[in-house]
Amino acid sequence: MPRIDRIAEPWGTRTPYGPGETWPTRVDSYLADGLTEADVDRWVQSATILHSNGDALDIAVKDDRIVGVRGREVDRVNHGRLGPKDLFGWQANHSPDRLTKPLIRRKGKLVETDWDTAMDAVAGRCKELLEEQGPSAISFYTTGQLFLEEYYTLGLIAHGGIGTNHVDGNTRLCTATAAAALKETFACDGQPGSYTDIDHADVIALYGHNMAETQTVLWTRVLDRLAGPNPPKVICVDPRETPVARAATVHLAPRPGTNVMLMNALLHEIIANGWIDREYIAAHTVGFAELEKQTKGYTPEVAAEVCDVPAEQIREAARILGTAERLLSTVLQGFYQSHQASAAAVCVNNINVIRGKLGKPGCGILQMNGQPTAQNTREAGADGDLPAFRNWSNDSHIEELARIWNVEPMEIPHYAPPTHVMQMMRYAEEGTIRFMHVSATNPAVSLPELARVREILAQDRLFLVVQDIFLSETAQLADVVLPAATWGEKTGTFTNVDRTVHLSEKAVEPPGEARSDLDIFIDFAHRLGLKDKDGAPLVKWSDPEGAFEGWKECSRGRPCDYTGMSYDKLRGGSGIQWPCNDEHPDGTERIYEDGQFWAQPDYCESYGKDMITGAPVEEIEYKALNPTGKAVLKAAEYIGPHELPSEEYPFQLMTGRTLYHFHTRTKTGRAPQLNEAAPEVWVEMSASDAADRGFTEGDLLEVSTPRGRVRARLRISGIRPGALFLPFHYGYWDTDAGSEPKKKDDGRAANELTLTDWDPVSKQPIFKTAAAQVQRISASGGQPAPAPTTTGSAPVSGGVPPTTGGADAQVDELVGGRA
C-alpha cells in the first residue's frame, strides 16, 4: 500500500476527475506503533472533529485503546479521505494530563474532589443565585465541539428549566455570521449547498475562506477537479497568499475591513452588465430594486481605491462570476471575523440569488462553519438560537416548543434574542451575571482582548464552572472543574456544513472518573430538581439515543427535520443529509430547488435585521416586505473599520489559523506530528514591509496594540503590504506561565492584541482589523520562524527548510478504495 508523509503533503495523492463525474475514493489510514489492520480488535464508526468538514472515519481499537483511524470509503463527504488533524489528532485522547477527577477551589487552589462534592457545589451555587437574583444571574457558554444530544439537553435545561436567556456557544466566534447571513437572505438557517456541488461547478468562489487549511478534505476535492479535465475556475478573496490564492484564476487581496466595498463593486458589475436572471429575480426574490440602487455608486474604480485592488481584477472576477454556468460560493472567517461581517456574507448570497444559481447541481452556497458540531449548536438551540430554527419573536413557535418540553411558554425567555457571549462577558463584568458554566471551550485564549477576559473570569463574585478534558487556561481560573469524556469515549451525532449527519460511537472508556458531557448535564438537571409543568423530571432521557429521539420530535416539521433518522439508520453506511423525514427518507441533497424557501412569515426562523445597526425587523414589517416567503435581497452600504491604522499603529493585524492546529491547540498541541509542524507562534509580514524596516526571516518581533503585546518570530510571507498575521491557536498551557503571560514581554496569544468589537448583526467578534505596531527585539541569527512552509505561511524567500513529518507521519493511502 502506498505511504505518504501527510505533514509534508497535507492533501495527499491526486485522484483527478471531470465535471459531473463521481469523486474517486481514496482510503486514508494511520495506525500507531507500526500496527497493521490485522492487529486491530475492532473498528468503531465515527467522524472527524478537529474541523467542520464532517469526514467519516472508523476508529481502530486494540486492547481497549484507540490505536488509529481509517477514512470511511462509503461516505458521501470524504470518500475515504482524512486530513492531517484527523490522522494524528486522536493521540491527544491518551495524554497523561487528561483531567480524571473533579477539581474544586479551596483556599485559592484547585484540589481534587469527588463528583458529589463538585456537583453539589455547582448545583448549590446555581440554586442560591436563582433564589437571590433569579435566572438573569445564570449563564452557559458552550462550544462547537460537543454532540447534538448534549446541546439539545443543555438548551432544554437552560431555556426550559432554569429559564435564563444567557446561552451561547463559541460558535459565536466561528459560525455566527454564517447563520446570520442565511437568516438575512433566506429568513432561515440551513445551507443551500452540497459538497457534491464541487463535482459540477464551473466556477468556485472562495470568500475569505482558506479551505485548503480549514477543510483539507474538501480542498482535496477541489484539487482533484483542478487536476482533471475541464477544471473549474477559482476566485479567491483573501489578503494572504494562501494555497487557495495560489490555485486561483483571480486572486483579490483587499485591505482588511473593506469586504463590503469589494462585494458591492462585484454586485455592481454583475448587475450593470446584465449578468442576472431577471425571471428568477421576479419570481423568487424581493428587494432587487433597492440592491440595484444601493450598489450603483460602487464602481470598480471606487472599490479599487478603498480596497487597494486593481479595478481590472475586480472586473475580471465579476465577469467570471457573472458568466458562470454552475457557481459554487463559499465563505469563512476572512468575512465572518472581519468588519461588517454579515453584510459582506449576505453580498455573497446576493450574487448566487440574482444569478438564479441555487438548488441545482454545481449551484450552491456554503456559508461554512469552523467547528465540527457548530451546526448542531445552532440547530439544537445552544448558541443564541432556539431549537430547530424556531423564531424567538414568533409566539406560536414558543408555544410549540413549550408543548414539546411540557413547560409554560412564559418559562422560555423570548423577550429578546438569547444573549451572545460578548454581552454575557459584559454582564459578568458589571456584575449581574454571577454564575458561568463553560463547556469544551477556552475563552481565556479565544476571546478578544484577553487581559479584560481574564479579569472578568477571575472575579471572586463570578462562580465559574469549567467542563473540559484538560486543565485549559480557562479551567485554571475556575471554581469547579468537571472532567469530561471526549470523542471516541462517548456516543452522539453531529452534523457538518452540508447538513450531513454522522453517528459517532463510543470506542473506549474515558480516563479515570471522567464522564460524558451529557451525563454531567443530566446530573446537573436532577440536582437542581428541574421539573416540567406536571412535576415530572424536565429531562426525560438518560442516554444519547434517548436524547436523539427527544430531539427528533423537536425537529419535526422544521427545516432541520431529523424524524426520518435513527441511530440504526446512521450505522454502517454513509452520513445522511437533513431534512430527512417520511417525505425524504434518505435525506435531501439540495434545498431551495425551484426557488422554494423556508421564508414564509409564520414559518421562518428570523425576520431579519438592519445590516448596519443590527436592530431586528419587526414581524409586521417583514410580513409587508415578504408575505409569500421569497428570498430577500439585502443591500448594505460600506462603512469604514472602527479601528484604523495610525502613525503610531501603522499595521492592520489579522488573526487566523493554520492547517495543523485546531482552536486553542488543546488537542493538536498534544499530537506530536501536528505540534512539530507548527510548534510556536509566528507573525507574518510582506516582503516590502520587512525590507522597509530591515527585518529578515526569523527576527524576533514584538507586535503591540493599545491592548497588549505578543512576541513572535517573523515569517516573510505572501501577505498583502500593510497587514500582519498572527495565528490565534497559541496560549499558555504549555508554557511555564500556565494560564496567562507572567511578564509583560512573554505574551504569546494573539488575542492579547485584538479589540472588543463585534458585528452588530451576527454579534461575531472582529479579529481582522486591529491597528498594530511592530518592533524588532532581536535578529534571527539564521533561525527561521517556526511557521509551516506548506500553507498560507509559506516563505517568499528561500533558505527555509520545508515542513515535513518524517517517519512518524507516514499514512497509508489506497486509491480506488479497499474493494
Partner: protein
C-alpha cells in the same frame, strides 16, 4: 413658503442628534456595541446636516454644513469615566435612560423629515424631496435601534 423654516428646524434636530449619539457613545464606552453603533449612526446625522445646509441655500437659509461637536477632551473624560464605573451594575439604568432619550429624539427627527418630505411634494421641490427620501429612513433606523436595544438591555437591568 415655510420650507426654509422646516429645513432650519431639521438642521437643528440633526445637529442635536449628533451630540446625543456621540455623547451617549462616550458615556457608554464600556458597552462596546453601544459605543460603536452610536458612532456609526452619528455619521448619518452628520451627512444629513451637510445635505440640509446645501439645500438650505436654495431656500435662503444659511446653515453650517459642519456639526459643532464635543471637544476631544470632554469626550475622553466621559470615556474614562465609563471605563471606571463600568464594573458596576448601576450604569445599566443610565443606559436605559439614554436609550429612551435617543429614541425620542430620533423619532422626533424622523417625523420632521416626514413633514419636510410632504412639504417638498406640495411645493414640487424635487431635490429637497430626494434628500428627504434618502435621509428619512436613516433617522427611522436610529430610532429603531434605540428601541430594539432597549428591549434587549432592559430585562437584565430591571430583573437583576
Amino acid at each position: 413658503m415655510k420650507l426654509g423654516m422646516a429645513i432650519e428646524e431639521l438642521h437643528r434636530s440633526e445637529n442635536h442628534l449628533v451630540t446625543v449619539l456621540t455623547s451617549m457613545s462616550d458615556k457608554h464606552k464600556a458597552d462596546h456595541e453601544v459605543f460603536y453603533v452610536t458612532r456609526d449612526m452619528a455619521k448619518w446625522s452628520r451627512e444629513h446636516v451637510a445635505d440640509l445646509a446645501r439645500v438650505g441655500r436654495d431656500f435662503d437659509v444659511d446653515l453650517d454644513p459642519q456639526v459643532s461637536e464635543d471637544p476631544g477632551m470632554l469626550a475622553s473624560m466621559k470615556q474614562r469615566t465609563s471605563e471606571l464605573i463600568g464594573r458596576r451594575p448601576e450604569p445599566g439604568l443610565l443606559l436605559l435612560a439614554d436609550l429612551r432619550h435617543l429614541y425620542r429624539e430620533a423619532a422626533g427627527t424622523s417625523v420632521d423629515w416626514e413633514l419636510l418630505a410632504q412639504g417638498a411634494q406640495g411645493a414640487k421641490e424635487k431635490e429637497l424631496l430626494d434628500i428627504a427620501e434618502r435621509c428619512h429612513p436613516e433617522s427611522l433606523r436610529q430610532a429603531r435601534w434605540a428601541n430594539a436595544h432597549l428591549k434587549v438591555t432592559s430585562p437584565q437591568v430591571l430583573a437583576s
